[in-house]
């Protein structure tokens, strides 16, 4: 069995990769992908913890997380399409109309 520490380290690396993607990329699609990667890292921690403590709650939570993610992606992609129609671009910084 894979030790819990390894699983956590892997999930952490995955999280940092996703975060870097979110912070560095300017395309909205790539930012969304980064967010997906971060969510997967979180799911991985849940699964690993569930295995470590031998509790099924974590796995149940991951199922829930998948459903939420699917919904989120559906909404996000719809908005991407909408944004594309507005400005014919998907660079996030172009949409800076909502400043205080």
């Amino acid at each position: 069995m894979i030790p819990f520490g390894h699983a956590l380290a892997f999930a952490g690396a995955l999280f940092v990769l996703g975060l870097s993607c979110v912070l560095i990329r300017r395309q909205i699609l790539m930012i969304l992908i980064g967010v997906e990667i971060m969510l997967n890292a979180a799911s991985l921690v849940f699964v690993a913890a569930s295995a470590f403590w031998r509790q099924p709650d974590g796995q149940a939570f991951v199922i829930l997380l998948m459903a939420i993610t699917a919904a989120e992606v559906a909404v996000a992609l719809a908005m991407v399409v909408y944004l594309w129609r507005r400005k014919r671009t998907l660079v996030a910084d172009e949409f800076d109309g909502m400043c205080g």
Binding site: L19, V22, L23, R26, I28, I31, A92, D93, F95, D96, G97, M98, C99, G100
Partner: protein, 626 residues
């Protein structure tokens, strides 16, 4: 007769004033004018009807209780006694004639309702002072007189200097009012009552030092209204008002109020020798000061204004010398002849075509109605103190009282009084010669003088001339009627041998003659005014306005400017504005964070996440230590 009917005396003018105030402009002009005159004339008739009530100890009447709280009991009380009755009669009588004159004088003015209601209110306020038996009621009248004088002196307020003269009168007299207010509160604190008669009855139980201070406070209060040193600057400027107002202020209301106040509180004031000397000193200095100023004035009404100041100074000297009867005697005769002089001066100004400068008049004796000259002359000889006129006897009585006063200091005051009499005779005849003698020098077109401006002068001139019989001294065969009338209120009985009296009378005659000859020699044939430094100094009233300006007005303005610019604008506004600027600066800095860019927000999320993470790490490390 019901004693509360006494209230009709002051309330009648008040009623007419209110009616004129509310409906005056809607009523026919004749009705408004008639009502104003009847209001005052009615008071005069009522005073005559109620005369019997003043005999004995007088009559006190309480209309209602104004305030009642604990030991404080302010009832609206009148005291119609031997001191108040002649004063009331004089005020209402002279004011009636002045009102009649005013109807003629103001017949072209549009604002008659305001004028007549203020005039009536003025009389009401004065009657309140005269009749009040309660300090607070007296104070009400006192302030009412100040208010009405403000409104009437600045009656033609569209000219800026008139409005300023009104404000000046109001403010300068207010300085005196402050002292009167202090005296009033102190009297209440000491005696526990506000009733004037009770206070006078208890006067001997108050400690001498307090009596002295109270006397001086009352003197300062009286100085404001009576235009005595050092609060005299307003009276000369009060000439800005219409002539009937000047006549009213100088003869019947306002300036006599101070003398009356001191006479009212004579039982209290006379207990302190220091206060009495102070009163005499103020009177003497003012008499001399005003007489010197009057010698150099060029405006006819200003000469008369300074002469009033000077004559009121005599009245103060009389109070200081302990003779209330003498002061009231001079007050009454002065009221008659000064009213004549002012009203005649109004006619003179009309005839000279609105010319005020006596050096541009001349020859009016032949130009106008003949009787005007005689009436003016009658007033003038009374003012100068020509023998056998009312002014002669009243002034002589005061000088005698000063001469025979036990304290040797009073000899100096007597000398000042004699010197003032000389100056008075000089400037009075100077005025007469310059206005009436010689050839006309003016260029103005004479206005017609309405009949109503002419005949009210006659009874007053007559009263001024024969006013002496009111209090004719014993040595010329009189009975000192006024002195006996005042009975217990008359003050000191002046005792002197007949030799002394005859000596003083001859001295007075010599002095009047000397003043007349000097004026005759200098002004019988017109010579232009002197332009030296001395006459400029006297013309400006010893630079009193400048002095007040330097001593009080400028330091006050400087202090105000310091408070405004130095404190308010710099310190308070600066600190508060600075705080506001600092906060809004911070706000602008913070606003720059919200760029609207998604990436900025995301990195902010990340930083926040890092900080949270760091925070939990620190907690973990610390928690692990336990």
């Amino acid at each position: 007769m019901n004693e509360s009917l006494l209230f009709l005396i002051p309330l009648l003018p008040l009623f007419c004033a209110v009616l004129n105030m509310l409906f005056g402009m809607r009523l026919p002009r004749l009705f408004a004018e008639t009502m104003a005159v009847t209001g005052v004339a009615g008071s005069f008739v009522l005073t005559l009807l109620f005369w019997g009530m003043a005999e004995g100890d007088g009559t006190r009447a309480v209309l209602f209780t104004w305030l009642s709280s604990g030991t404080l009991d302010v009832s609206f009380a009148l005291n119609f006694d031997r001191l108040a009755a002649p004063m009331t009669l004089m005020v209402t009588g002279v004011a009636t004639l002045i009102h009649l004159y005013a109807v003629g004088y103001m017949h072209e003015d549009e604002d008659y309702a305001r004028f007549f209601s203020l005039l009536n209110l003025f009389v009401f306020a004065m009657l309140t002072i005269v009749l009040a038996d309660n300090l607070l009621v007296l104070f009400l009248g006192w302030e009412g007189v100040g208010l009405c004088s403000y409104g009437l002196i600045g009656f033609w307020y569209r000219k800026r200097e008139n409005a300023r003269a009104g404000t000046k009168a109001f403010l300068v007299t207010r300085v005196g009012d402050v002292f009167l207010g202090i005296a009033l509160l102190w009297l209440f604190a000491v005696t526990g009552t506000l009733s004037i008669s009770t206070i006078n009855a208890q006067a001997s139980s108050i400690s001498p030092v307090v009596v002295m201070v109270l006397g001086i406070l009352l003197l300062l209060g009286a100085c404001g209204k009576s235009a005595q040193l050092p609060l005299m600057t307003w009276l000369a400027d009060a000439m800005a008002g219409p002539t009937p107002v000047s006549a009213l202020i100088h003869a019947a209301t306002m300036v006599t109020a101070g003398v009356y106040l001191l006479c009212r509180f004579f039982p209290l004031v006379s207990l302190s020798a220091v206060a009495m000397t102070a009163i005499t000193a103020v009177g003497a200095m003012t008499a001399l000061y005003a007489a010197t100023c009057a010698m150099a004035q060029r405006e006819i009404k200003r000469v008369l204004a300074y002469s009033t100041m000077s004559q009121v100074g005599y009245m103060f000297m009389a109070v200081g010398a302990g003779t209330v009867a003498g002061a009231m005697f001079h007050l009454l005769t002065h009221a008659f002849f000064k009213a004549v002089l002012f009203m005649a001066a109004g006619c003179v100004i009309h005839l000279a075509g609105d010319e005020n400068d006596i050096f541009k008049m001349g020859g009016l004796a032949r130009r106008g109605p003949v009787e005007l000259f005689w009436v003016f002359l009658a007033g003038a000889v009374c003012l100068a103190g020509l023998p056998l006129t009312g002014g002669f006897f009243s002034k002589d009585g005061i000088l005698l009282a000063l001469f025979t006063y036990p304290d040797p200091v009073y000899r100096a005051f007597w000398l000042i009084g004699v010197a003032t009499a000389l100056l008075t005779a000089f400037y009075t005849f100077r005025l007469v010669y310059l206005v009436f003698a010689g050839e006309p020098r003016g260029t103005g077109h004479p206005h017609a003088v309405p009949l109503l401006m002419r005949w009210p002068l006659w009874p007053l001139a007559l009263l001024g001339l024969v006013g002496g019989i009111l209090n004719l001294p014993v040595f010329v065969g009189g009975t000192e009627r006024l002195h006996h009338w005042y009975a217990g209120l008359a003050g000191r009985t002046v005792k002197a041998s007949h030799e002394v009296e005859w000596m003083l009378v001859s001295l007075a005659v010599v002095i009047v003659a000397a003043g007349w000859f000097a004026a005759h020699w200098r002004y019988r044939n017109y010579r232009p005014p002197l332009e030296g430094a001395v006459s400029r100094f006297l013309l400006s009233g010893w630079q009193a306005d400048n002095l007040v300006d330097r001593l009080f007005v400028r330091p006050f303005t400087a202090m105000a400017r310091f408070c405004y610019v130095g404190c308010d604008r710099t310190l308070f506004d600066g600190s508060i504005d600075g705080l506001a600027r600092m906060l809004s600066g911070w706000g602008r800095m913070l606003v720059q964070l919200t760029t609207g860019r998604l990436t900025t927000y995301l990195s902010a999320f990340a930083w926040g996440f890092l900080i949270l993470l760091g925070w939990f790490l620190i907690k973990l490390v610390n928690g692990g230590g336990h």
